[in-house]
Symmetry: C2
Subunit: 188 residues, 2 copies
Amino acid sequence: MKKTLDGINLLYPTPTTIVGAKVEGRHNFITIAHIGIVNHAKPFLISLSMGKPHYTNAGIKENKAFSVNIPSEDMVVATDYVGLVSGKKKDKSDVFEIFYGQLESAPMISECPINMECTLYDVYDTPTHDLFIGEIVETYAEESVLVDGRVDLSRVKPLLFDMSSVQYWSIGQTVARCWNVGKKMKQK
Amino acid sequence: MKKTLDGINLLYPTPTTIVGAKVEGRHNFITIAHIGIVNHAKPFLISLSMGKPHYTNAGIKENKAFSVNIPSEDMVVATDYVGLVSGKKKDKSDVFEIFYGQLESAPMISECPINMECTLYDVYDTPTHDLFIGEIVETYAEESVLVDGRVDLSRVKPLLFDMSSVQYWSIGQTVARCWNVGKKMKQK
């Protein structure tokens, strides 16, 4: 039996990210899980939906760059913290250890096992949010999360965001191989 | 030690969805995990990134409606199957049991614990993909996945898509409460 839920969004869980940017000349970080994958080929485009009042938005628009960092479970306190406190009120520049890649205004977080540095490709305007579309210029992964050169999510231990329960969830086990397990049905 | 990975997208895992649409008058279904959350307020906007050659794209553009259905782990074979076989070559209209809500051209999948029916709000054009932005008009959830009226992901058992391992993953356990666990740091 189905129940209707008044048109709410249930497209979860999504990977929790920490977005890094320069705002008024200072490093700033904000937790964002309303992400998107926009173009899966060069240029690799990803999106971040960020409420218009956020402090970080102006910095991304001004410097046309940002980073997307994927924290591990053991970073849950700091990850949640930078989503609780606005950069307008609190200097968050010393919460993480920072490194830079190719872009001047995309500070990345050393502790995060995965980092993507992005130039601002476009801003898609919506009624209440800026949808920042970033082009990934370089991707970094901690060696300890790689197996044969590929990321192993069981080593990354990402924080999966769910708005229904308002909880971060861990990742479980592998279930089946994509573009493969369905072949069983194809043969019927 | 960080390794560079040539700017690939590592924004995973994402929830695997089955998109329903009418194409040439027939129900069609396709697996899409390159999703996005675009506007988190009314209008609730979500996105699907779909390679331009896909059969379904023309149907969504013509009828300006589609559904986003979230399958459970136990549907992994059929979920993968509708992503393996193109509607151009194979009639996929009978793979699932279908129901309709408010929209004529947004067939939904009864077996999926969560369904969102969407009108086409916009198409954001990228070099190789159509980014379909849908406005959710109604959301349906199977009563068995609700606890106190809210979705419990441990009951949904979504299939989490990961391009690095090319595997579907299960969801694990709750880690901590969002907008809450970070307060420990705030008090410092």
